[in-house]
């Protein structure tokens, strides 16, 4: 039972354009969402997060949008740079569970072409 789904295994965009990565979840208890970035041969690193009390969070070129009614979130990267090429994982947790347990999606491989 995949509670967090990233339905696009890969995405290719041109440098300078916008990258949009999508994520869907099924568990209505999830109330905190995170994006991680992973380069080859490295562990995932935290990128940006959003609480369910917000619908948008911005950090430089990265913006995460949350649509609670649709159980959908997206990560926007503007402008995209070749160094953004990596695997992006969406993750979710239920703060109320008090466990810190993160459930991850399958990942989306982003390629930004120069």
């Amino acid at each position: 039972d995949q509670q967090v789904k990233q339905n696009s295994p890969s995405l290719s965009v041109q440098e300078g354009r916008i990258s949009i990565l999508n994520c869907d979840y099924t568990n209505s208890m999830f109330d905190y969402f995170l994006w991680y970035k992973k380069y080859p041969a490295e562990g995932p690193t935290f990128l940006i997060s959003i609480s369910s009390i917000k619908d948008k969070n911005e950090d430089g070129r990265f913006t995460v949008f949350l649509n609670k009614s649709a159980k959908h979130l997206s990560l926007h990267i503007v402008p995209s740079q070749p160094g953004d090429s990596a695997v992006y994982f969406c993750a979710a947790t239920a703060v109320s569970s008090n466990t810190g347990k993160l459930i991850f999606g399958q990942g989306t491989t982003l390629q930004v072409k120069p």
């Binding site: 995170l34 562990g43 810190g100 347990k101 993160l102 991850f104 999606g105 990942g107």
Partner: protein, 112 residues
């Protein structure tokens, strides 16, 4: 610069052999997680600990996998006997009770 340390980085073994992966979490972090990266499942949660106590290991095949945390500086994941389908990258991550996780670089396991 605090980081999660995992050993070995790469392990090639034959089917049926025992494999032990080790993790040193970041000092002060009270939760430790083991994840497995596969193409189909992405980052799959295997087990996790809080204050060294196992909270959930429902993601692990119980008959062959075991996870322990003998002290605050060491977490282990053991596979006995290993099978080719266990081939994957295994990540350890640590964090505080709520918040972002810090991942190690992973242990790439190949079972022939």
């Amino acid at each position: 610069d605090a980081r999660v340390t995992q050993t070995p980085r790469d392990k090639v073994t034959e089917m049926g052999q025992e494999v032990t992966m080790r993790c040193q979490p970041i000092l002060g972090h009270n939760t430790v997680f083991w994840y497995r990266q596969t193409m189909m499942q992405g980052l799959e949660l295997l087990a996790y600990f809080r204050n060294r106590a196992p909270l959930d290991d429902s993601g692990m095949p119980k008959d062959r996998f075991s996870a322990e945390m003998p002290d605050a500086t060491l977490a282990t994941l053991k596979i006995q006997p290993s099978e080719p389908r266990d081939s994957a990258v295994y990540f350890c991550a640590s964090g505080r009770r709520f918040g972002e996780l810090f991942f190690g670089e992973g242990s790439r396991l190949t079972v022939l």
